[in-house]
Amino acid sequence: MSGPQHAAPRPSLAVWKFASCDGCQLTLLDCEDELMAVTDRVEIAYFLEASSAVVEGPYDLSLVEGSITTAVDAERIKEVRRQSRTLITIGACATAGGIQALRNFGDVEELLRIVYATPEFLSTLGTSTPISDHVEVDLELRGCPIDRRQLLEVIGAVLAGRKPAIGDHSVCVECKARHNTCVLVAHGTPCLGPVTHAGCGALCPSFHRGCYGCFGPSEGADIAAMTSVLRAQGMSEDEILRLFHTFNAWSEGFREPPVGPVPVALSPSRLSPSRLSPREDRP
């Protein structure tokens, strides 16, 4: 198998920031041991969070964090795309608009007046949109923040010239592989795992918490069926909307979660009394 890693010169890596909290870049910094080890294979050409040294483009691999919230950024991302052979978005902001996409559901002008003393100094778009709304994206890494293993997998795959193993199935598949107890079925804890994109290794259920969907919708996710389950668990429509409207609120699927009927199989009349009782009922 031959791959680009054997070809000189070293492929160059650039990391770009748009509207974001920097959490995904921190995940990248958290890979420092691995990244230091590959510096003879990869040239870190542009990564302001790590180094102020800047190497001119074009770049072999660009990692893009953050969403597009200003007219300036809407232009800048086009330049980044032009300079990048492969462009991978990292995280919920870049991939779905992030938590700041909650503005898309409201009136930004009004929000500006409420929050800022001098809103006239601000120049912002009315929306927060994913990178893929503006330029072509080669691969999207989900998560708020991204998963370290997945990041290293993608970088490794690009270096080796192979397809990255990034599945688009549900968190449940990872959860079951880890032999976790299903908090939804066995504790009655609301969990978005069945409709959430895998990648985190079922982090939250591994700590007895329900998944709150930070990786966004999985392939084939049936949101209506999911909301039916949540309703059977006693959640109100408002609570269900809040559950979906977090990091990936603007992703298709989570944007307007259809609220389906309570499934017959889960209807309270068929439940044994413990189903809706709180988690304290378990030893």
């Binding site: 688009d168 199935h169 598949v173 079951k176 592989a177 880890r178 299903c182 079925v185 504790h187 378990r282």
Partner: protein, 342 residues
């Protein structure tokens, strides 16, 4: 030693180090999309039904290294991987799960395609089976002809004879290894009354099965690929894959190539997959089964129908796990009944 044990509010098969870790004093309340531990108030060891997860992970783990290699610009050197030997004792395994291992044997130990990982882990398993006396509401092993009493494939089979003042185990010795173990166990010889007591419990268990499946229904459903019921169940199904993950006979996997960031190491891994994922049926980047309806049809008809063509029996042993662990409570015994109607 792997046995059902209480963990995080469920009974699941896992490693135990002493009999005290068996689910003493607990049973389970299982229904569609619902599982709760329930104290029995007794000191029975095996009052529960099938544990929430299956035993397959010990024989065919979620991730298994298949091949290790080294790549250069001109060559790929491959070294065979010899799986580490493991000697398991499966204690407290039920008839349905024993039957499921029998099915996995046909998949992984087929004479022309023996799987080294499975074979290595399977070879030494010492089986202490237990007859079910308290089947769950999702159990239907009696319909599938696999339980509730283990028939073969064990070294020892136990029936727990418990009624207030009596707490004994009737032991059926199934192999020389089992006999050797029993040589060190104190007890009294079984008498006809013990066998009768065990048989009565088995009979009660059959009568108490929570679900049923008519063996004539699956071929009828297979003849109805356009039945509206497929769309109906697809409308409820999340396509999450939980049913296949917990099913003790689902064996599907994907292969992943992993390269080290540094160096030239290459590994090929096998990881659990499910016919509910898009990658599962992807050819040239697009899934053949793009809809939930087609995926559900694949799962149900493979389990209950085409398994017969492939392996000479049903792929379902009636453990009921897919019903319990389906977040929406989709029940294959109910679906197949609807889909079989003309």
């Amino acid at each position: 030693m792997i046995a059902p044990t209480v963990r995080d509010g469920t009974i699941t098969p896992d490693r135990i180090d002493s009999a005290a870790e068996l689910p003493i004093g607990y049973t389970d309340d299982q229904d569609g999309g619902h599982y709760r531990l329930v104290p029995t108030g007794t000191d029975e060891y095996f009052a529960s039904s099938s544990p929430i997860d299956s035993w397959k992970r010990f024989l065919s783990p979620p991730e298994a290294l298949l091949v290790r290699g080294r790549s250069s610009s001109t060559d790929l050197e491959v070294e065979p991987v010899v799986p580490d030997p493991v000697a398991f004792a499966f204690v407290g395994i039920r008839a349905c799960d024993l039957a499921a291992i029998g099915l996995l044997d046909r998949v992984f130990l087929a004479p022309d395609a023996v799987d080294p990982t499975y074979a290595t882990r399977r070879r030494e398993v010492f089986v202490v089976a237990v007859g079910c006396v308290h089947p769950g509401a999702t159990c239907f092993c009696a319909s599938m002809g696999t339980g509730p009493i283990p028939r073969d494939g064990y070294d020892l089979a136990l029936t727990e004879l418990y009624d207030g003042d009596r707490h004994e185990f009737l032991v059926d010795v199934g192999s020389d290894r089992g006999a050797a173990v029993m040589a060190d166990v104190s007890g009294r010889p079984a008498v006809a009354a013990d066998d009768e007591a065990a048989a009565a419990r088995a009979e009660r268990a059959v009568a108490a099965m929570g679900r049923q499946l008519d063996p004539l229904d699956p071929p009828r459903a297979a003849a109805n690929p356009e039945h509206v019921g497929w769309g109906d169940v697809a409308g409820r199904c999340l396509s999450c894959g939980n049913c296949t993950m917990v099913c003790p006979t689902c064996f599907c996997s994907a292969t992943q190539d992993r390269t080290a960031l540094l160096g030239d190491g290459v590994e090929r891994w096998r990881v659990w997959d499910s016919c509910f994922t898009a990658d599962f049926s992807s050819l040239h980047g697009n899934p053949v089964r793009a809809t939930t309806e087609s995926r559900y049809r694949q799962w149900l008809l493979h389990k209950l129908v085409t398994w017969h063509d492939q392996f000479g029996s049903s792929g379902c042993v009636g453990c009921g796990r897919c019903i319990t662990s389906c977040p929406v409570g989709i029940d294959l015994t109910a679906e197949i009944r609807v889909l079989a109607e003309s």
